[in-house]
Symmetry: C2
Amino acid sequence: MSNFPVYYEHIHTCSQTGARLGRVHTPHGSFMTPAFMPVGTQASVKGMSPEEVSDMGAGIILSNTYHLWLRPGSEIVAKACGLHSFMNWKGSILTDSGGFQVFSLAKPKDIVEEGVKFQSHIDGSRLFLTPEESMRIQNDLGADIIMAFDECCPYPAEYSYADRSQARTTRWLDRCIESHKRPDEQALFGIIQGSMYPDLRKKSAEAITARDLPGYAIGGISVGEPKELFLQMIDCTVPLMPEDKPRYLMGVGTPDYLIEGAVRGVDMFDCVLPTRMGRHGTILTDHGRKIIRDKRYAEDFGPMDPGCGCYACRNFSAAYVRHLIKANEMFGLRLCTYHNIYYLLNLMQRVRDAIANDCLGDWREEYYKNYYGNQD
Amino acid sequence: MSNFPVYYEHIHTCSQTGARLGRVHTPHGSFMTPAFMPVGTQASVKGMSPEEVSDMGAGIILSNTYHLWLRPGSEIVAKACGLHSFMNWKGSILTDSGGFQVFSLAKPKDIVEEGVKFQSHIDGSRLFLTPEESMRIQNDLGADIIMAFDECCPYPAEYSYADRSQARTTRWLDRCIESHKRPDEQALFGIIQGSMYPDLRKKSAEAITARDLPGYAIGGISVGEPKELFLQMIDCTVPLMPEDKPRYLMGVGTPDYLIEGAVRGVDMFDCVLPTRMGRHGTILTDHGRKIIRDKRYAEDFGPMDPGCGCYACRNFSAAYVRHLIKANEMFGLRLCTYHNIYYLLNLMQRVRDAIANDCLGDWREEYYKNYYGNQD
């Protein structure tokens, strides 16, 4: 057992790849890892009910501090007794720190040691986010896992900037630890930065993991770099992360990135891909993406993804979903989103099964044969 | 038993009002009357899954011939084995004739004896809808109840125009009967017109009901006229409709209009009100409408409609739904729409209970006390 409100239970290591099967325990239940976390940016997984997300097998979702801070405001969520109660989600929740959104809105000169000045994307009002403020908001929201306020380095970044940035991320982590008011109920994860420089990744990993925290994340990758670099960064970072804590790879991703992350020992992932693609009428399948609004599906009366067991594929034809999307019917977006979230949750289940059976390497090879075949 | 695929079973007449409780039997099950039919314009009740609509207690939904004709096209629905199969709705379906939409798009000079010329609202293409074409499309769609192609008189209309119009509606009905290819599976309802002129209503009712059809509808009211006129038209039309057939009041409506229709012996109603209001973040309650996006609900952590037993009210607060609507989250519209459909279906259940207990007059008086109280 752990002193932390969130802890990692190791179950099995895949003899073929070294990937790990485990379980993360939180104050709102546990979930099997490697796990995909659907994103509910504004306290709602876009288009889905909490029951739908839960029935699909999600044990944890992610929500965004920045968005909830601006709307409805963290005080309102606190008055509603926290995010779980506010959105009626009975499973675990992770909130990010707001950093990722804020850095994309801020000018370089507005990033200072104290925090980040930026303008609201809603009304243009001037705001200031600091490690302390991020903790205050996340304490209000009350997620099971909260993230340290880190500096998100853009890609590409110069070495000297990336170094200063990762060092600041460590100093900010200490301020987060210092100002975190609910350590017995909410687990604070530190974030390893270092851009695309292996030695900075190592430096950051050593500094961040030197702080005794319930979990650690890899930030600042999957930000536009080539896949080789992405893999290299995971390869040089994961071995420096403790084995007895959950490892979270932020903002990932596509099926192949999820699989590569899992193979390398990552436990948790999140990405807006399934919801965003769903809203655009595109679905994920073992044979790549399908653009369901395409004319080729106009008279396809079979399921969107033959063989898929999800609600959308069991009950509706590709032709019907295409019609709904062409006609701007909300239900079409619901069905595509439902399928995509189900697909990624199910993909992680297949990854976990392969780990349990010591055959993740073989399974991956087989999966890629189809995946890199014909895409729409 | 009846020779028609759809027939009316009378259960009870309210001794206090004369309102009738019954059951309409169709090839896809039966439903209790007076009944509200949620509208699924484009083969989807906006935002809802078929299971949600069914679980709320809807036995029949309405879908629009005009919209499905243009998109995806009736041939595609026919190839999908009809609308029930296409949209996976297991209950009954009624399709309108397309007339209502077409008349709103056509210029007066384009309304001729043969049919109506108009331009598609999607791509501006020139189209021609006739009684025969409406029947062909509705036979393709395969709904349990199909509607005659009638001339929808605008309000206000001059007497001479209204008279010519109702006479043409009767001639068009004969062409519909003649061209209807599936009378053993689909019940064709005739539509009584006559604008706001009692003698024309009588003339039309006599002519339309002289045709032996499985059901009859009142068309051309609730088109902007004062409520008094609305009630007067129902009062002078319903008594001329056969007692052993379902009576359908088209495009109605608000709670008070539904109740007044039921009191006067109408069995079936449809309206886009609950879905349209839901999409704008407004809900129906016993105490009138509530604009949930209003600031007053920002910290209202109770249900949107206290005492309501619907999924939305049982599981989420007004504050949460308001947040979703302000943040343009699809799920907020789903919750408001869900509540509104549930509200009207449940309202009809309460009306049916009051009929069964011979107290619809008392119930109505009680209901109106709250209803005409404080509205948002």
